[in-house]
Symmetry: C2
Subunit: 288 residues, 2 copies
């Protein structure tokens, strides 16, 4: 799925909601637990219930890997079950040297046919390029995350020295961006707004404004509305652009909206509620 | 496997060799390609041929994931086939928010029963702690890698300001470590020499010396001897400590030593050659 097709879906459904399928076998409703294919049945019911209100699904690979090879097989069937109209994200946080990243890209873009994958930037350009080389696929690079540990590295200052010749005089320009800002600055050079997005888990409005200012046109994947405490209004106000430009993910607050037999119905209502709010934020943005 | 048991194996075999099972289905010798279980048969033959000369195997998850669910099943059987005397590393470069990292830890430490996993530090402390909480398991955190992209982030300078009160006077101390040095400084606070190692892909002797100086007792996993260009002599001279303190990995130069029917025999000779060199480096270190 291309960026253009994603934008069309967003304006067709008045929604930029991504539903996170972080399906934990221990949290599946009791009446489904005895089903021989419980995790897939749960995912299927969630997809059927929410697909009208969302434009994307994000599969968190960790929850499937915890089940071993069986989990990967369930992941495979789940991706296949997601309608072609929806943007399929592997939340995998991969990244390694070039020939290894090429294998990860093959795994998620070819073998599993995801539209996008999240990747970690630590190892630099050649660890990301094998993902970015795929046509019509999207690489979503970690920028700023919303967890407490973000302060350890992402929110530490860098000392970047640039050497400039100004009318024959050699000048050293010093900048002190946060690591996550430096990551965004570098990574944006390696991709385009068509094949590159960023994970932005910011919650403070000054951070949201400064990030949108830095990358006005890139799509941003926002994790953590709901259980992780992000505020949909704040995020939408500061980040929506003319193409929407954001996908806002909610996992637990939708898929575990109820732990009973009505889990799918309650998931539908939760997704519908987000969609309703998003519709009004989209029309507010269009009117400004 | 504990650190103590690993050290025992190293001195028993006079080897700190780790064999990397980066098994690419396209690079398996022609005569095996038609075997219905070619990748596992290849791994089995490599393990049988090399186990006398190495103390560890490192499975690169990307190569297995490229095969989908079937690949995970082969990975599972491969881990089970590795003898209990060998330190089993999942080279997976995982890392996510706490509840997700906990699922990755479960996947690799419980479902697959690896002794160790490589993880990426970008998201900070709470992304690493779920791994470090396991008893008798080892978390191997990316420090400095040997790829070209290391210069983009790992080898960029940080600006770390520490506030100190010196005889009532408020002083701001400024340090400018490389990102990878800051990562090592922070991460070492979260683990012990028993449960924490670092990936160090350094090739320059000043870097090797400075890293060993900073963390004299931690085990280091050194990728990239052979195909990635690392020099075993240089690495051993600067990094060996009284417990050996390093695992040196070689993947392609061992497992693809020959592309013919003699692949296992040639892998054995390549592993034996590394072991012989390591034996002499170990005895040199003991004599200094």
């Amino acid at each position: 799925m291309t960026r253009k097709q994603l934008v069309e879906q967003i304006f067709l459904k008045h929604s930029y909601l991504c539903v996170g399928l972080d399906t934990d076998v221990d949290k599946i409703p009791l009446h489904l637990q005895s089903h021989p294919d419980a995790v897939f049945e749960f995912n299927k019911a969630i997809i059927d219930a929410t697909k009208e209100y969302c434009v994307s699904y994000k599969i968190n690979t960790a929850f499937y890997e915890a089940m071993g090879a069986k989990g990967w097989e369930i992941m495979q069937r789940t991706v296949d079950y997601i309608p072609e109209t929806h943007f399929k994200i592997a939340d995998a946080k991969r990244g390694d040297i070039g020939n290894t990243s090429a294998q990860y890209a093959k795994a998620f873009f070819e073998t599993l046919n995801f539209d996008a994958i999240t990747v970690a930037p630590y190892m630099g350009s050649d660890s990301l390029k094998p993902f970015l080389e795929y046509q019509n696929k999207t690489t979503i690079v970690l920028g700023l995350t919303s967890n407490a540990g973000a302060k350890d590295f992402e929110l530490q200052k860098m000392l970047i020295e640039t050497h400039i010749l100004d009318e024959g005089v050699h000048i050293i320009k010093k900048d002190t961006p946060f690591l996550y800002e430096w990551v965004i600055d570098k990574v944006r050079e390696w991709g385009t707004i068509e094949n590159l997005m960023f994970v932005i888990g910011a919650t403070r409005s000054d951070e949201l404004k400064s990030i949108r200012n830095k990358i006005p046109d890139h799509f941003l994947l926002i994790p953590g509305v709901g259980a992780q405490g992000g505020d949909l209004h704040e995020i939408s106000t500061h980040l929506l652009n003319k193409d929407a430009g954001i996908l806002v993910n909610s996992s637990r607050s939708i898929i575990y909206a109820s732990g009973g037999e009505d889990f799918a119905e309650k998931a539908k209502l939760a997704a519908k509620d987000y969609q309703g709010q998003m519709q009004s934020f989209l029309s507010e943005t269009a009117n400004t």
